[in-house]
Amino acid sequence: MLKINDLTKNYGSFTAVNHLSLHIPEGELFGFVGPNGAGKTTTIRIVCGLLKASGGTVEIGGSKAALGTKEMKRMIGYVPDFFGVYDNLKVKEYMDLYGSMYSMNSKEIAKLSDDLLELVNLTDKKEFYVDTLSRGMKQRLCVARALLHNPRLLILDEPNSGLDPRARVEMKELLKNLHSMGKTIIISSHILSELSEMCSSIGIMDHGKLVTAGNMDTIMQGIMGDVSGGKKIHIRISAGMEAAVRMMKEYPNVVVESVRENELIIGYQATDEEISALIGRLIQSQVVLTGFYQEEGNLESLFMQLTGGEEA
C-alpha cells in the first residue's frame, strides 16, 4: 500500500529523516512510534504532499505519481497533529466544504457524511458549530472528514495528544473499527503502549531512522525474551519488606529493581511456573503479601533501549 524508499529530508545541515525505507501492506493498522523530534511528522507530511523530500521515493497504492498531485492526494486522508476549524461553520457544512473540495456532488456528500458522522458518533452534533465542539469531538470530526473521499490510506498524526483517557478509548475503538473494515491506517504516537493494544504492526523511529519495524506480535515476543532483567513483577507488601528483599536477593535469576514503601519490583528471568513458585514461597514466609502483577511486555523499556534512553 505504502512503500517508502530511501526517504531523506534535510533542513539545512540538519537531517530530520535519514534514508528511511518502510513498507506497509494493505489493510494494516500501522503504529509509527518515536520520541519527540524523531521525524514522524516530517515523514507524514512528505507522504501527504505538504513537504518536499530531499531524496527518496514514495509509492502509494502502487502508484508512482509525484507526491502532491491530485491522484496521490485523493488516496490519502490526513489528520494532522495540530489543526484548526473555522468559526461560524456547522458540522454538516464542514463536511460539505471538504466534500466539495474533492468535487463530490452534494447528494453524495450528504449521504456519506451522515454515515461517517454516525461512525464517529457525532450524529447529534450535525447542527452544531464546529468551533463549539470539544477537542475530542473535533478530533473525531477530523477523522470523519479525512474519510469523506474514501481514501485508501488514512494517516493520523498523534490523534491522542490532548485527549482525556475517555476520548482516547473512543478514538482507539474508532480506529480498531476502521481497521476491521479493511482500511489501511497509519497512526503516529510517541507512546508505545498506546499503540500496542490496537496496531497490527509498528515501526519505531529515532533520529530520522527506522530502528525496527514489523508485526506487532513478533516485536512483542522479542521484548518478552530480550529485555535485560527479564519479566518485571510488582509485589505489594504491607509488612515484612526487609525479609522479602533479603529473600529475593538470594534467589537465583532475580534482580531487585526497586524497593518502595510497600512495593517491591523485581526482574526475573523465568518461566510462568517458576514465577508462580516464587510467589508461593513469598506467601509461605512471614511476609504479608497483598498483591502482585506482572508488567505487560515491557514496551517502554524496549523503547528506551532502542531509542538510546532519551525521554519518550
Binding site: 492526494k73 485523493r74 490519502i76 495540530f82 461560524n88 461553520l89 471538504y98 473521499h149 498523534e158
Partner: protein
Amino acid sequence: MRINPIVKKDLQVSARSMRLAWGLFGYEAILAIAFLLAMMVIREESRSLYGSGNIYNSMVYLFPVIGISQLCIIALITPIITASSISGEKERQTFDVMLTTAMSPFSIVFGKVTSAVVRIMFYVLGSLPIMALSFIVGGLGWSTLFLYLLTVLLLAVFSGSIGIFCSSICRKSITAVILSFVFYFVVYGMTFLPLLLRFILGYNDAGESLLALLWNPGAFFEEYFMITMTGESLISTEMLRKDDVGAITYWFMERNIWVYVSAGCILVLTILFMLMAAWKVNPMHSSGGRKPGKKKKEN
C-alpha cells in the same frame, strides 16, 4: 460550472459574522458622506454666477465623486481581505488540510480572490442607487454604469491579487496586509520609473516611457473618468503635443484605446500575481515547510 468550495464557505462564514454587517454599514456611511458633500458643491455651483442654474445637469458630477471615493475604498479593502486570507488559514491551522485535498493551489488562490471580490461587489451593488442618480437625472448612459462596474471589478481583482500574493509569502496576516500596501506603492512607483529615467538622461520629451503607465491603475482610472466625462483623452488635450510623446503612446491616446490596453495590462499583472501566489502556496516548490515554534503538547 461548479462553484469554488472556498467561495461558498467564505460567503457562508462571513455572512454569519458581524464583520459583514459592520463593513456594509461603514461603507455605505462613507459613500453617503461623499454623496452629501457632492450635493452641497453641486448646489452651490449651480446657483453661482457661472453655473447653469440647472441643478439636474450638474448631477452628472455625482458620478466621478462617488465613483472615485468608491474606488479608493475598494483599493483599500480588497487587499486587506485577501492578504489575510491564506495567512489567516495558516494562523488558524486549517491550511495544511486544505492543501491535502484535491484542490489545486491555483484553485485555492483563485477561490480566495473570488470570494473577496464577490464580497466587495456586494458593497458596490449597495451603492448603486446613489450612483443611479447621476444617470437618471445627470444624463449619463447606462452603458457607462456597466463599464464602471467592470472597472470596479478590475480594480478589485487586481488589488485582491496583490493581497493574495503577499498572503502566500507571509505567515502573519498583519505582515501580509502591510506588505501588500508596500507592493501597491512599488507597482505604482515603478510605472513612473521609465519617465523619470528619461528625464534624468536629459531627454526633454517623454518618448514611449509613458507606456509604463499602462500598468498604473491610477492612470487607468484618471483616463477612464476623463473619457467618460469629456470624451477626450487625458493627455491628447492641450497638455502634450504630438512630438512630446512617442508614436505608440500618441496613437493609444488619439484612438481612445488607452483604457482598454491598460485594462488588459493590469489584468495580465493580476493573473501573474495569482500564478505567483499559487506557486508559493504549493509545498512542492519550496523546501522550507512549516517552521518550528509549534505548540508544546501536554502529555
